[in-house]
């Protein structure tokens, strides 16, 4: 199906093949100059503005500094660290110097850092501070192509004097010197670029194998941003909070592809811990986050609700009853009677206004979720608050997204319709294919994978789905994850998992049952929420494994499962479950860095549990060693109960 929308947005009329990110950056910086704030960072307790002119100067000297250190066309510059202006300057600097940007997740372990630096042939690494420098130094000798490690936060760096280290300040000083020699070099570099050149090398999280590096051109990135902004136009007076990892394509899309074209202000939180608070201070107009962020918000509201006094609970119940009713009418595209409008206004004044303010959602025009499946319950929850939450579907390989909900045409079980210039079709096997100007160039140093994914300009996503009667795309699940029930029908485990996660007590869930007689679930309880609940019930416990195995906690989880089982066909109901003795963790390879379950891996790792769930036993004995984040290892010997769900 071909999508044609009325194109309302045209800050840069048409993305020509000649346009590059640096060229756009150059013209935007010249246009906005000293008058406009390009970004803000909260530092020392105060939001500090950075104008387009400051942004431009910093990028320019970083670019020239990199050239003076020996960056050549096509050389890779990797970045690691929290979201901060310097990170974005370094990326933009690398692009302006005709290099290629590579982002690493801030919490990547040494092996991952080493693999990506080595595979991408990175020449310069820009780290934030001591932590990143330590990581980089410990693998420096194993990555022969890595020339320099650049750092910008001087804290704790006083005793480092290795030759391979250089501060960002020093890089910029080198840039200034080079400018004196060749005053027009920066402009020349910017003008040289072409849209088809590689801009970013982005590593996909890889639920099955090693990460693959997707090559994205300037043209890919820019058309992506343009097409999304055509659907949901933003203004240059809007605010956006950049707090999700830059190594995630969604954040690149919002900060670079869209941000640069629109010119909205990027806001960087003070620290990772303060991001929720900082979002509230800014009150962004547009938001894009993976479902886990929205799940976290939902959980916060649910927990606060449980903790509050009678009158507040009642007010909330009344307001959410009204909210849900109105949201359901909107979903059904039915007329909303005037008395419901009045009630909606009443609910807004009574509860929702305050609640939205606390979540930082007061000014949000469009909130997007994507990157993983979101449960219908979460989705309805936000619409009941009056938040215009939309699903989007995309992947790194299309430089962000390809499908999105339109205003007034939102269905919570779909991901919407394709954005302009984008075609989506379904193969006979049910695989989702995408064709658009944003489809990537190929995988770096991996022609076999490229061949499998890119055929005749169509991107083979590896996701199963279908297009419904309204032209909406429904994403079922990853093809390899789709389960077959006893009666031969296909079933998406993700669907059930997201339903289970709507309970505030369930942090993660993993549903098993492919070609099995019945469906089972492994549950990871939310330690703090269940912990608080246990406190009010006067249950004593010393650790996560102990709490998870309490009879009362099993009863609690069983109730949550019964709720999630409701309205499901008999065969798709969870019959047995087990509470795991730990939370699933990306550091243990159980999740990807974007927190997707690595099914094949956990199935192998927890074999004993899986086989116990499908045998007659009601206890499984675990004897294993787990590694904490701080490096300690603990030997765990535990009996895990298996509970049959009352249905």
């Amino acid at each position: 199906m071909q999508q044609e929308d009325n194109v309302a947005f045209s800050p840069t009329d048409k993305i020509s093949k000649d346009l590059t990110i640096p060229k756009l950056f150059y013209s935007q910086a010249k246009k906005y100059g000293k008058e406009r704030v390009a970004m803000r960072e909260k530092e020392y307790g105060i939001w500090r503005p950075i104008t387009w002119n400051d942004y431009f100067e910093n990028v320019k000297y970083i670019a020239l500094g990199l050239i003076s250190l020996g960056l050549e066309e096509g050389d890779k510059v990797a970045m690691i660290g929290d979201n901060r202006p310097e990170g974005l300057w370094a990326e933009m600097g690398a692009l302006c110097a005709r290099g290629v940007g590579v982002w690493l997740f801030q919490d990547s372990l040494l092996d991952e850092v080493k693999y990506i630096l080595d595979h991408s042939d990175t020449k310069f690494l820009v780290g934030e501070g001591q932590e990143e420098v330590d990581k980089a130094l410990s693998i420096f000798h194993e990555c022969p192509k890595l020339k320099k490690i650049i750092w910008d936060d001087p804290k704790g760096m006083r005793n480092y004097d290795q030759d391979c280290l250089i501060s960002l300040k020093e890089v910029m000083r080198l840039g200034r010197e080079l400018e004196k020699e060749k005053p027009n070099l920066f402009e020349e570099l910017v003008n040289k670029g072409h849209g088809d050149e590689v801009a970013l090398l982005f590593y996909t999280s890889g639920t099955t194998a090693l990460p693959k590096g997707a090559l994205l051109s300037h043209y890919n990135m820019l058309t992506m941003g343009k097409n999304l902004m055509t659907v949901d136009p933003c203004k240059d007076t809007d605010d956006y909070v950049s707090y999700l990892p830059f190594a995630w394509i969604g954040e690149q899309m919002m900060s670079i592809s869209c941000g640069l074209q629109i010119g909205y202000t990027l806001n960087f939180p003070e620290s990772t811990e303060t991001s929720q608070e900082n979002i509230r201070e800014i009150g962004p107009h547009v938001m894009f986050a993976p479902p886990r962020m929205y799940e976290q918000m939902t959980r916060t509201v649910q927990v606060k609700y449980l903790d509050s006094v009678w009158i507040k609970r009642k007010s909330y119940e009344i307001a959410s009853y009204i909210g849900y009713h109105v949201a359901n009418l909107k979903f059904a595209k039915k007329h909303i009677p005037f008395y419901w409008r009045i009630l909606e206004w009443f609910a807004y004044l009574l509860v929702q206004k305050k609640l939205k303010d606390n979540l930082g959602l007061t000014r949000v025009r469009n909130a997007y979720t994507g990157g993983a499946a979101m449960g219908p319950d979460h989705f309805r929850f936000f619409h009941s608050l009056g938040v215009n939450l939309k699903q989007i579907y995309g992947q790194t390989e299309v430089a962000g997204i390809s499908v999105v909900h339109r205003n007034g045409d939102i269905k919570f079980d779909t991901v919407g319709r394709p954005i302009p210039e984008t075609e989506v079709k379904i193969t006979e096997e049910g695989e989702i294919l995408t064709k658009s100007p944003s489809v990537f160039i190929g995988y770096y140093k991996n022609p076999e994978a490229t061949e499998k994914t890119l055929k005749d300009g169509w991107l083979y996503s590896g996701d199963k789905g279908f297009i419904d009667e309204d032209g909406h795309l429904v994403v079922f699940d990853r093809t390899k994850d789709v389960m077959t029930l006893r009666d031969g029908k296909p079933f998406a485990p993700q669907y059930l998992e997201t339903r289970l996660k709507f309970s505030p007590y369930v942090k993660d869930s993993w549903v098993i049952g492919d070609n099995k007689d019945y469906i089972t679930a492994v549950i990871c309880i939310d330690y703090s929420v269940v912990g608080n609940w246990a406190d009010t019930k006067k249950l004593t416990y010393t650790s996560y494994p102990e709490l998870a195995q309490k009879q009362e906690v099993y009863d609690l989880v069983e109730e949550q499962i019964i709720k999630a089982n409701k309205d499901l066909p008999e065969l798709a109901k969870v019959i047995k479950f087990i509470n795991l003795y730990k939370e699933l963790d990306a550091d243990d390879d159980e999740l990807t860095r974007t927190r997707k379950l690595r099914r094949a891996f956990v199935e192998k790792r927890y074999q004993e549990i899986v086989s116990a769930l499908y045998s007659d036993t009601d206890v499984v004995h675990i004897d294993t060693t787990i590694k904490y984040e701080d490096g300690r290892q603990v030997h765990i010997k535990n009996d895990l109960q298996i509970r049959k769900v009352r249905n």
Binding site: Y44, G45, K155, R158, E270, S271, D630
Partner: protein, 273 residues
């Protein structure tokens, strides 16, 4: 306060001379002498009840020893009260955190800057001209130098009593360095912390000691031998109020008496690393 002369790194900042402290007939410190040089981290170790905290209290002025002298920058400060010693630049933290639980993190730290405030009661309560300016200066110092250093941005407006123990310890350190001390007495700053918090705290102590901005001399009482031997320039060993040895970590580790009194007990020497 007559003591205000500048001491160069390596010169003696604080000297204890033959300190004797009795509680009734119990001798807590028996002729303890040591010299703490500017710029170093000097640790005090010893089994429980050895008199380490008593020694700290004698220096900070909480106790007044019956015999012996304490010199700070060469001047005798024996009879001086704790708040006057604070004005000289001696700050401390406590073994069990002694923060103001009902006050916010910011207010706790602000309290540590009390001695630097110049405005009086009246102008303070009216918050006029100079006072407002002064307040902003102090707030700036706290934000840029302390909150940033100790990485406590996310809790600056939280009441300290609601925070986990590890963070309370951090706030207490923040309050102590808000005084901009020259000598910092740290009484078991790592006790009760988990491994990650220990590493953080050790890093903060090193920062305060080594960072050009601070250069604070530290007297550290600690049981975690791994950290003590790693951080200290000199180690002082006490046993039942008696000084056993005062020397570099290597000298202390090799001293047979120390091994017998303290390190010999392998369990105690077990580091947490």
């Amino acid at each position: 306060m007559s003591v205000s002369k500048d001491i160069k790194p390596g010169e003696v900042l604080l000297e204890l001379e033959n300190i004797q402290m009795f509680f009734g007939k119990v001798c807590a410190l028996n002729g303890v002498s040591t010299k703490i040089k500017k710029g170093e981290i000097h640790s005090v170790i010893g089994p429980n009840g050895a008199g380490k905290t008593v020694m700290m209290n004698c220096i900070s002025g909480l106790y007044h020893p019956q015999k012996g002298n304490i010199y700070y920058k060469g001047e005798k400060i024996n009879g001086m009260s704790p708040h006057n010693r604070a004005k000289l630049g001696i700050a401390r933290t406590f073994q069990k955190v002694e923060v103001f639980g009902g006050m916010t993190v910011l207010d706790n730290i602000r309290l540590g800057r009390h001695i630097h405030y110049k405005s009086g009661i009246i102008s303070g309560s009216l918050y006029l001209g100079q006072t407002a300016k002064e307040e902003i200066e102090h707030r700036k110092f706290i934000e840029e130098e302390i909150i940033d250093l100790l990485e406590i941005e996310h809790i600056r407006h939280k009441p300290v009593g609601m925070l986990p123990y590890g963070l309370q310890k951090r706030v207490e350190l923040g309050r102590a360095i808000a005084l901009e001390p020259e000598l910092l007495l740290l009484d078991e700053p790592l006790a009760g912390l988990n491994l990650e918090e220990v590493e953080d705290m050790a890093r903060f102590i090193l920062d305060v000691n080594q960072e050009e901005r601070w250069k604070v001399t530290c007297l550290l009482v600690e049981h975690d031998m791994g950290v003590v031997m790693d951080l200290s320039d000199n180690v002082f060993v006490l046993n039942f109020g008696n000084m056993i040895v005062d020397g570099t970590p290597e000298e202390v580790q090799g001293n047979p008496e120390v091994v017998k009194a303290y390190l010999g007990e392998e369990d105690l020497y077990a580091t947490r690393r």
